[in-house]
Symmetry: C2
């Protein structure tokens, strides 16, 4: 959707072919814009791309607003990363060293300092880091805003599934569309000189893509709960809190309306989208360890999403070897964070024919092999 909007702003005529799925990462994601507190050894390129994208957010949101979109729930309170036990704290300190090497400013805090910032944290929290520039956005509102802005720029939105890429003489000619009762007037095919494949974990289901163009994308299942603060009470956290609890990551992302997103599992389970006892139990257990007061919160919604993981866990952007055929896939856990940078990179690829420098590492034509999994 961001590619469509940014391309339309560059003067291209754009149609988006996308059914709604409640398992799409964009509607399940918590919306953390936290490259600092997600920085990990071996993922320095992703961290840098995340920092670029995060720092584009304010300007990006201003342009969205200028295109008439509603505000997407952007919150700028920073992110607190905390450790449950001494092993967890040692691990966070290692990541603090990595951030220092990458020039990312975060501040080390004692347990007491953490609780001063977030008084509902458990007394057992050992310490942590404050990342003052790691913020959050509401992905559902962001998607609605992007949709509105795209529509305002003349983008046609077709709520149907594309079933196949169509080629002619080795170059893209368009896509074939599913017959759907949700869009009875949709044509059977759509002609276009350029086609961007951006269907997340479902991209591999598209027929007609020549071998070797699209690396295998594996769905990485995430279970997540949307909690609700009782009416009249303050949410148990005032900013995004990411925790490490006996080695397991967990996070709480508050919103202005009292919602608190609790996530998320990471499971390599194919296209399985079942909410499970084990997944929900782990989330609740770890959240309660960090913030016992979450026990009082309502479970307003349960979500299961599939993140699109590429073989090396990095995104695949821009032109492929098939003339006219582009990729914007493999964003894994970072789709919301990478939104502004992806939009800019893809609009440049579509309008100018090549990726800008900041995105060139993630060129869709690179050789990808299975890398170190996160």
């Amino acid at each position: 959707m961001v590619t469509a909007w940014r391309a339309a702003r560059r003067g291209l005529r754009v149609s988006v072919v996308a059914p709604q799925s409640r398992h799409a990462a964009s509607v399940v994601a918590a919306g953390m814009l936290t490259p600092a507190t997600e920085a990990a050894y071996g993922e320095e390129a992703l961290t840098r791309f995340g920092l670029v994208s995060r720092d584009r957010y304010p300007g990006f949101l201003a342009e969205l607003a200028a295109d008439g979109a509603t505000e997407p729930g952007y919150r700028t309170g920073g992110t607190l990363q905390v450790a449950f036990d001494t092993d967890d704290l040692a691990r966070l300190a290692e990541l603090g060293d990595l951030r220092a090497r990458l020039g990312i400013a975060t501040r080390r805090l004692t347990g007491r300092e953490c609780r001063r910032l977030e008084p509902m944290l458990a007394p057992s929290v050992r310490g942590g880091f404050l990342a003052p520039d790691d913020h959050s956005v509401d992905p559902r509102r962001l998607l609605a805003a992007l949709r509105a802005a795209a529509r305002g720029r003349g983008v046609a939105l077709l709520p149907v599934r594309a079933t196949a890429v169509e080629l002619a003489g080795g170059a893209v000619r368009g896509v074939r569309l599913e017959r759907s009762t949700s869009a009875p007037d949709a044509p059977p095919e759509l002609r276009a000189p350029q086609v961007v494949l951006a269907a997340g974990a479902w991209t591999g289901g598209l027929a007609g893509v020549p071998d070797g163009v699209l690396p295998e994308l594996r769905p990485v299942k995430g279970q997540l709960l949307r909690l609700r603060t009782p009416p009249g009470e303050a949410p148990p956290v005032s900013r995004t809190v990411r925790g490490l609890v006996r080695g397991a990551p967990v996070y709480l992302v508050p919103r202005d309306d009292g919602e608190v997103v609790l996530g998320a599992t990471q499971e390599e389970a194919g296209h399985d989208t079942r909410l499970t006892v084990g997944g929900v139990w782990e989330l609740l257990r770890d959240a309660r360890e960090l913030v016992p007061g979450v026990s009082e919160l309502e479970i307003a919604e349960t979500c299961v999403g599939l993140r699109p993981g590429s073989p090396d866990n990095e995104p695949l952007l821009g032109p492929t070897r098939v003339p006219g055929l582009h990729l914007a896939v493999g964003h894994f856990r970072h789709g919301v964070l990478f939104t502004p940078a992806t939009g800019d990179a893809m609009a440049a690829a579509l309008a100018d024919g090549r990726l800008p420098d900041f995105a060139r590492r993630f060129a869709a034509t690179r050789a990808v092999a299975a890398g170190a999994a996160t």
Copy 2:
């Protein structure tokens, strides 16, 4: 619904005034018919009534079938009650003594014997009891069966709420009905010489009931999960398993279609029907302690129900001091178990003017004071 059906079989003309609520105990309940494994000190009268009602189930279901109702998921594999630690086992042994005194046959088992019956039980389970005559039924299917049988006997079912009891000269004249779009043809009132109040935890909301006729009913909130076994796999328990885990009761009730009901919290929280982090976490924690394999199950549905608790936790049945006005309320955790006995008692009260001996202890006209809570 059972009162309506049984009264219609006795030749009375009956209308049921009842909207559907997804928080009603009848659609949330797990459907355990387990008076033996629920027997508790101080509740001997409830246990005896439960045994009477349980032992009427086979004949009751045969009569339901004879009236054309579908089968309500009756399972007769008995119930296994297990203890997680030695304190839990000591508590179960005490209850075993009580059952022996009441003449209820249950068999004490070692941990190994428990696991022989239910191989997925945790190795840590200490021991337990088998109650061979404690069975289960599917309350949603039972309600549908009762509805069908009642309709077959000419009972009129009005899916609207009664707002008030109407009296004339100190006796019942009928009930006033809510205007509802779900039944636009429903009259504003219904005249009847006899009215039974049986709206569970919502009965107290009815206007026009003279003071002192209806004791205060408190809603006792229950949170419960409906789990689903993955396709092609066997459910983790083959019969109802009730456990005591560090003093907290938990149960798993399997159904023929692979559903496993996991319940239930008991919370005195007024009419609050929020699903909470704390409630769900306790259920999952205790279920995993007893049967670790539940982790693989899907959470197919989350439920919150309100049980109707009377001041002494016993039901209130039959005529009140207002001529024509009856109660069938206060069944607390036992509504499904007490269904056959309640139907028989209420039909007798309505047709003959008085409760049969087996139900007389629960006469609506008794003096009730707050008793020992369970």
